[in-house]
């Protein structure tokens, strides 16, 4: 009898596992294809402003957000499309925002670097490097004081390690045991400068100096990111306090779409190596096939579905109207 139950549960677990990792795969593909469309819109001069692509870093956003509830909070960065999508944002409204349309998440007033969405707990992408560390920590403060058992995740790049405000809020978070996960996406480059030229000591020591629980993971391996994130989120939710997660990853494109000639700061060979050997989507795809959860054809089917969905989202955004000019003075004050 015991054996039967175990087998049954194991089977159910396997099905749930398969469903979960296929969902994760689809999300990662969605981010990759979203960004391919952004690149296309930008190079065709349909998108104003700046575009900072997240391609190559998908495992971080998806691995972390998969460990969160819809009502948990995130703050994001100028390279934030991946975080917003991973937390559940709709590509339709995101593309609309990127094009400055009224149907966008911020009615076109924020653009690529400021997407925010209360429905998915997204407190906003932030175009000041390290600018959202206070906001995320404050969300953790509210969760504790209002006793909501929510958790806040603060995404930032390794460039934000140069900002003093990060250390001020990590000190506060640890003193007051706030449920905040600081996620350092180390994509190796502070804009056009390798992080080793700007960062003394080790990254993790910055967190452990405050007594904050810290870990370093392979940011290309979504399962590893997810496993540690799940542990940290659970701990924070139960009142265990903040944690710091360093995810080593790589930015496939330039700092922004216009950063094309990059050889003065990094080689094409380096980029190629990450893309062929360390691609997070390929790595998960191979694992799914090894597990028997998918085959090459079914994975291609997922990509095809996502591709079509993105095309529809782009079409929606391109055809959507701009906000009326009267909108310019709305929402300065609540």
């Amino acid at each position: 009898m015991t054996t039967l139950i175990t087998n049954h549960e194991a089977g159910r677990d396997t099905a749930a596992e398969k469903e979960k990792w296929l969902r994760v795969y689809r999300k990662m593909v969605s981010i990759r294809l979203f960004e391919e469309n952004v690149n296309e819109l930008y190079t065709r001069a349909l998108m104003p402003g700046l575009a900072h692509l997240y391609s190559g870093e998908e495992a971080v956003a998806v691995g972390i957000c998969e460990a969160l509830r819809i009502d948990d909070y995130i703050t994001s960065t100028h390279r934030g499309h991946g975080h917003c999508l991973a937390k559940g944002a709709s590509p339709h409204r995101m593309f609309a925002e990127l094009l400055g349309k009224e149907a966008g998440y911020c009615r076109g007033k924020g653009g690529s670097m400021h997407i925010a969405d209360p429905a998915t707990g997204n407190l906003g992408a932030n175009a000041i490097v390290g600018g959202s560390v206070g906001i995320a920590t404050g969300a953790g403060f509210s969760a504790k004081h209002l006793d909501t058992d929510r958790v806040a995740v603060c995404f930032f790049g390794e460039g934000a390690l140069g900002q003093g405000s990060l250390y001020e809020v990590m000190n506060l978070a640890q003193l007051w045991k706030l449920p905040v996960i600081y996620v350092c996406e180390n994509n190796q480059y502070n804009e056009y400068t390798h992080y080793q030229e700007t960062t003394a000591g080790t990254i993790l020591a910055r967190a452990t100096a405050f007594g904050i629980e810290a870990a370093r993971v392979d940011g290309q391996d979504v399962r590893e990111v997810h496993e540690v994130a799940t542990r940290f989120v659970k701990r924070a939710r139960l009142g265990g306090g903040p944690a710091f997660l360093q995810c080593d990853t790589y930015r496939y494109s330039g700092h922004h779409v216009g950063d094309i000639n990059r050889e003065y700061y990094r080689s094409k060979q380096e980029e190629q190596l990450w893309k062929t050997e360390r691609d997070p989507i390929k790595m998960l795809g191979n694992w799914l096939i090894d597990q028997g959860y998918a085959d090459a054809r079914s994975l291609e089917g997922i990509s095809e579905e996502v591709r079509k969905a993105m095309e529809a989202a782009v079409k929606f955004a391109v055809e959507a109207p701009y906000p009326p000019v009267e909108e310019v003075e709305k929402h300065v004050y609540a």
Binding site: G138, S165, L172
Partner: protein, 326 residues
């Protein structure tokens, strides 16, 4: 029954206590705000009533705890941050200017930041260049922020309660030299809407438009002028934003002469903006150019005779007004 009198500091404390009793989401964050009650003792007794979960001593991290307050305000709390000296607002500028002020607009109206920053202004306390500035112009410059400059205990209580209930980030400047000033304050709940100027004294010959500490200076100068047969009106905008332009312009039209007073630096300052409002709105009714008086454009010096020379006084305002009315 005689009217109850409170000091400015007591009026601030009463406003905070009444609001904290009304709304459990309100908390106070700052350096030495709990048992110490701040170096000015403005917050004495609050931690005893509301506990250390609502009156929180922070590390000396102005940017950190202000940033935390922005996030807390967005997610359901109503934080009040205490920045001990107004000079220290420089440390919070990214959090206030790039975050708090812009969140509502940038998110298309989705997120709100109902927080208050209380801080101080004012020279002549012998505190030298980094503890004596009046930097209200900095925040008044930024869309998305509201800026309050109370000049009496009555206004301090009513305006602070309104600031706390506001859905936007509000910066509330208290003149630290005024904390002991006494005045009538009702022992009841009242608010003063932000954006409504108050005529502190009526007059016919000249208008002083004055903020915060300079309201008291202007009232003193008006008394001196009265002995000379000159009738001065004192108008207090009470908030630099929102700004009650109409009351300022109406008074300028009535008296035809205006001196604008604010303790901040004159250059690109509050006085410049207020003078511009008057000039645009009442130009054809004016008998002389609008005069501005504020802090000299020097870092505030320590040495008492030097420091005293940097800010307008009753005497200097009286003389300027008398000259204008000749």
């Amino acid at each position: 029954m005689p009217e109850r009198e409170l000091t400015f500091a007591q009026a601030v404390r009463e406003a905070l206590a009444e609001e904290m009793r009304r709304d459990s989401r309100i908390c106070i964050l700052g350096e030495d705000v709990a048992e110490a009650g701040t170096p000015f003792k403005v917050l004495s007794g609050l931690v005893e009533e509301f506990g250390p979960q609502r009156v929180l001593d922070t590390p000396i991290s102005e940017a950190g705890f202000t940033g935390l307050a922005v996030g807390a305000a967005m997610t359901g709390m109503r934080p009040i941050v205490d920045i001990m000296f107004g000079d220290f607002i420089t440390l919070t500028m990214d959090q206030m200017v790039n975050q708090a002020a812009k969140v509502h607009y940038m998110s298309g109206g989705h997120w709100k930041v109902p927080m208050v920053m209380r801080t101080t202004l004012g020279a002549t306390r012998r505190s030298a260049a980094q503890h004596s500035q009046s930097l209200q112009a900095w925040f008044s410059h930024v869309p998305g922020l509201k800026v309050v400059l109370p000049s009496t205990p009555y206004d301090a209580k009513g305006l602070l309660k309104a600031a706390i209930r506001d859905e936007n980030p509000v910066v509330f400047f208290e003149d630290k030299m005024m904390y002991k000033l006494k005045g009538p304050v009702p022992d009841e709940d009242y608010t003063i809407p932000l954006g409504v100027a108050d005529v502190k004294r009526e007059g016919d010959d000249i208008t002083f438009i004055a903020t915060s500490s300079m309201v008291q200076v202007a009232l003193g100068a008006a008394s001196l002028l009265e002995k000379e047969g000159i009738s001065a009106e004192v108008v207090d905008p009470r908030t630099t934003w929102p700004l009650d332009e109409k009351t300022l312009i109406d008074s300028a039209k009535k008296t035809s002469r205006v001196i604008v007073l604010d303790e901040g630096y004159g250059r690109y300052g509050v006085t410049a903006e207020l003078a511009s409002v008057v000039a645009e709105g009442a130009f054809y009714d004016l008998d002389s150019p609008v005069k501005r008086m504020g802090a000299m454009h020097v870092p505030i010096p320590f040495s008492p005779p030097l420091e005293d020379a940097t800010v307008p006084t009753e005497q200097s305002v009286f003389e300027a007004a008398r000259k204008m009315c000749k």
